[in-house]
Symmetry: C2
Subunit: 360 residues, 2 copies
């Protein structure tokens, strides 16, 4: 069997869950859902399929200390620091180089670090099938999430003909499309032919290398230079020198939208990317008034609030509905659920003020 | 000149400013307005008129430690602990006994500990005139606040004929009336004949003693017993034994509404009892959006909020108007300004829960 690797992308910026998430502690380092950090849950989820020595994590300098804590079972050298964020295609390229150093013929999965997956066994069955498909063919393989609503926050993947009847079924992907309008999203959902693109890919080193060479030649050339430098000396120094020069581009745009050899495995394993505070609600019990209360939180005469209170501090909400109230030891947020996407406006204020920057 | 005393009533329960105020630290022990605790401001305000040795404070066991800190210039023995709250008439009776022990002919003022007074010199001019009137006649004297709005949260005092033309003018009080309906409050304001009852009284010991004997004989009899016990031994023990048996009744109802020998000095010295969080607004600067911000507080896209944040913690409000958000080291409150009077509902929840009681 082709040797298998998993590369976990753990470099998010942690804006949407402020103040629980921070620059040095974004969502994948928090137990937003469940008891352990999302990254630890992601590692535990793949360990039955792939040995710890073959699980790599790409993260940032700021997050390294916390990533170490959340990935205690992995060899230290499997934690790779991206010197700067350069979007997903350079990160995938770096993942490819790292796997190639270990085994140039290996098959590897690229997985986000911060998703919720309820049916872990179902996930592994599908990932195993994806490894088999990618390991045995010159195909770019992706897990596509069966949509449950006309979401406009994800890209979509249109399915084509059956490639392998399964189970689980493996289909040709006809095309990748970017985040749609609501009207388009509704049409996609109604057609029954689309999956959400959740950023979960599986491919062999030579196959993704060929795809990068064909569709993103600038990036591919940069990766060749980086590969040479990595062979010669310190990875940190090579990355610091060459990684920032790679083009900032997403893997969807650089490769997936342009490739014809793409397979998709439609997935129904209770997936949720938990993109912001309001999404947290789906994963927690509510009181009789629809409030999600974590820690020492109380709501009097209010409905459908999310109230999170840390470290024995009490956070009390009186006579208000549909709010997000999150207390942490050094920062508290109060905002309506439907303004959660504007938390970044607050963070711009903090970033602009030397006295407040420490709370980012 | 008749010897003068001031007795400051410092026993409030601190519900309306939770979580800044607590059972052991109610409003008069906080710098709700200004830099010093309201009690310290009250003491400083009368010190030019009355020596420290003649300023007494009646407080509670829970608040004693903080009251000591806030009244550093006063002799320790001038701090008297009410073993239980028994409303204002027993407290006035106790004040009378304490002053009588020192000088049975003295004149004394009863003042709340937690009011804001902007024109301190004007206040002293009026209090001095009240001391003169009460010291020279068998009258119960009160300072009545010239109303600025049809408030329904105060009792009112109707003025009668001129007793002394002044300045400042001293008038007969025709009657004390309890907190009115809004319609009545409007009529009182329009008539120009009413003042607010702010609980500020001045009288000689024999005059208030006679009024209590005449109008509240049960309370008066209890006070006679307490007086004897105080003469015999430890004040704490005497109070613990006899004070709880005194009838629970207000001085307004027990004496002021029934007495004919009442004088009132109409006051215009920028008075505010700062009864709840919304009242705090009047005393603080606002940002361009009408927000009152204290400590490390920011509001993004919101208007007319009061946001208070303690100890370097940042409290950030996004996209919300007309809220009270108060952070303290162990508790945070979020409520609309127009629900401030219902903070007590929250406190009942805390009181009922052994795990949360500590936050009261």
């Amino acid at each position: 069997m082709t040797e298998r690797f998993v590369v976990i992308m753990a470099g998010g910026r942690g804006e949407r869950f402020w103040p629980q998430s921070r620059l040095h502690k974004p969502k994948h380092l928090l137990p937003i859902v469940g008891r352990d950090p999302m990254l630890s849950q992601t590692i535990a989820r793949v360990l039955p399929l792939v040995p710890a020595k073959n699980i790599l994590i790409i993260t940032t300098r700021q997050q390294l200390a916390e990533v170490r804590k959340a990935s205690a079972g992995l060899p230290r050298r499997n934690l790779i620091v991206e010197p700067v964020g350069r979007d997903t295609a350079p990160a995938v390229g770096l993942a490819m180089l790292l796997v190639k150093q270990r085994n140039p013929e290996a098959v590897f999965a690229v997985l986000p670090a911060d998703h919720v997956i309820q049916d872990e066994a179902g996930f592994r069955t599908l990932l195993d099938a994806a490894f088999q498909a990618a390991g045995s063919a010159d195909e770019l393989v992706t897990l596509g999430i069966e949509p449950t609503e006309p979401a406009t926050g994800f890209g979509y993947i249109e399915r084509g003909k059956v490639w392998h009847s399964g189970p689980p079924a493996v289909l040709r992907a006809r095309r990748f499309v970017e985040k749609p309008s609501l009207a388009k999203a509704r049409a996609y959902l109604a057609s029954g032919r689309f999956c959400w693109n959740a950023g979960m890919f599986v491919w062999r080193v030579p196959v993704i290398a060929a795809a990068l060479r064909a569709h993103a030649p600038g990036l591919h050339a940069g990766l060749l230079g980086l590969e040479k430098a990595l062979r010669r000396g310190s990875p940190d120094r090579a990355l610091a020198r060459l990684y920032p020069a790679l083009p900032r581009i997403s893997i969807d745009y650089a490769v997936m939208e342009k490739s014809r050899n793409v397979l998709v495995l439609p997935a129904r394993f209770g997936w949720d990317d938990v993109g912001s505070w309001p999404a947290v609600e789906r994963h927690h019990g509510k009181d009789a008034d629809g409030n999600v209360l974590r820690g020492r939180a109380i709501v009097e005469g209010g409905r459908n609030n999310i109230v999170v209170s840390a470290d024995g501090h009490i956070t009390a909400v009186l006579g208000l509905d549909d709010l997000i109230v999150v207390h942490t030891p050094d920062a508290t947020l109060v905002c309506p659920k439907d303004r959660a996407q504007d938390i970044k406006l607050l963070l711009l204020r903090l970033a602009a003020d030397p006295a407040l920057k420490q709370h980012l």
